[in-house]
């Protein structure tokens, strides 16, 4: 399992392909990310690589956040060292704003290493995970693609309503799982198999074909696609 990257959605635009066709693309600012921690089977019970993206101002970073990336010379730490407890490897970078784990073996990655977009140069397609735009309380037409009701023919003030939600006396209740209006959006969405159009190593940009969940500026997790074929 190749490790992915953290990044930000910059926005959409279009570019021209080799035969002059228009390709709709999303520009992602991907990395650079620091490896903050490598989780191993023996110590943590599972294998993963923890990445951090974007620096957090020191005034906003708590002691634990600072201690996670750099060795803190605390009284407790001194005592532990004296007792012979080995200090875990630290990345030695600034505290990070976003921290995410990627499951799988480390593949030779070490704590403190910097990962850049270059990892996607040989990758044909990626998956992008983001938080979709929040839509608040949404009706049934927007949320579940219901058709609503007719514009005329006696329909009164219920043009966007769901219609019936069940039967009469027989079940005498609404069955579970009935789709209704409610909170919509602002949830984790994975967009799979997006073709990598361009990798700009100089500016840490990754250009993929198609749309990506979330608002411009939103955090995205990018990984090599797990879709086969």
């Amino acid at each position: 399992m190749a490790v992915g990257l953290l990044g930000r959605k910059v926005g959409m635009t279009q570019i021209f392909g080799p035969t002059g066709e228009v390709i709709p693309v999303t520009v992602l600012e991907a990395g650079p990310c620091h490896v903050l921690q490598v989780k191993t089977l023996e110590r943590d019970g599972y294998e993963a690589v923890q990445l951090g993206y974007l620096n957090k101002p020191r005034r906003l970073a708590g002691r634990s956040a600072r201690g996670h990336v750099a060795k803190l010379d605390s009284k407790r730490q001194r005592r532990l060292t004296a007792a012979g407890v080995e200090v875990l490897a630290k990345a030695g970078c600034e505290p990070k704003r976003w921290i995410r784990e990627f499951r799988g073996p480390a593949d030779g990655l070490e704590v403190g290493q910097e990962i850049k977009v270059a990892v996607f140069t040989e990758v044909p397609a990626v998956d992008v995970i983001g938080i979709s735009k929040g839509r608040g309380t949404a009706g049934v037409m927007k949320r579940h693609n219901y058709r609503g009701q007719r514009a005329s023919h006696g329909v009164k003030k219920v043009h966007r309503h769901p219609g019936t939600i069940g039967r009469n006396t027989d079940p005498a209740r609404v069955e579970k799982g009935r789709r209704m209006a409610g909170r919509y959006g602002h949830e984790r969405v994975t967009q799979r198999n997006l073709r990598v159009v361009q990798v700009d190593q100089e500016n840490n940009l990754l250009v993929v074909r198609g749309a990506v969940p979330g608002p411009n500026g939103g955090l995205v997790v990018i990984r090599k696609t797990n879709k086969l074929g």
Binding site: T13, Q14, V27, N203
Partner: protein, 121 residues
């Protein structure tokens, strides 16, 4: 900031020299048409009635009358499929979108003020 980054990506899709034409111009748009492995040029001529967007997304609309029927085509300004844009005539217009031409038929569309020669020079 994000606009800067987007323009960075669009850079590669822009033409080295942006075709020069204005709203109200009568133009010949030379389109490259690929048929199998052969390429041929098709010309669409008409009046430029609108221009929209920016960067690699900039589009322009050309309107002409074919057999009494109004036909409009929208092209990306920077598309590699457009070989060239030749300005035939320039019209004097006072607005950016000439949508009012859609309501006109016959002479009122054709006879539009032409820019005087002295004015262009």
């Amino acid at each position: 900031m994000s606009q800067k980054i987007l323009s960075l990506v669009e850079q590669g899709s822009l033409k080295a020299e942006k075709p020069k034409f204005a709203i109200g111009d009568t133009v010949d748009v030379h389109c490259r048409i690929l048929e199998g492995d052969k390429e041929r040029i098709q010309i669409f001529s008409g009046t430029v009635i609108a221009r929209s967007g920016s960067g690699s997304r900039e589009m322009f609309t050309v309107r002409r009358i074919v057999q009494g029927e109004g036909v409009e085509r929208k092209f990306p300004v920077h598309s590699p499929r457009i070989a060239k844009i030749v300005v035939k005539r320039s019209g004097v217009v006072r607005r950016a979108k000439l949508y009012y031409l859609r309501q006109r038929t016959g002479k009122s569309t054709k006879l539009r003020e032409r820019r005087m020669e002295s004015e262009t020079k």
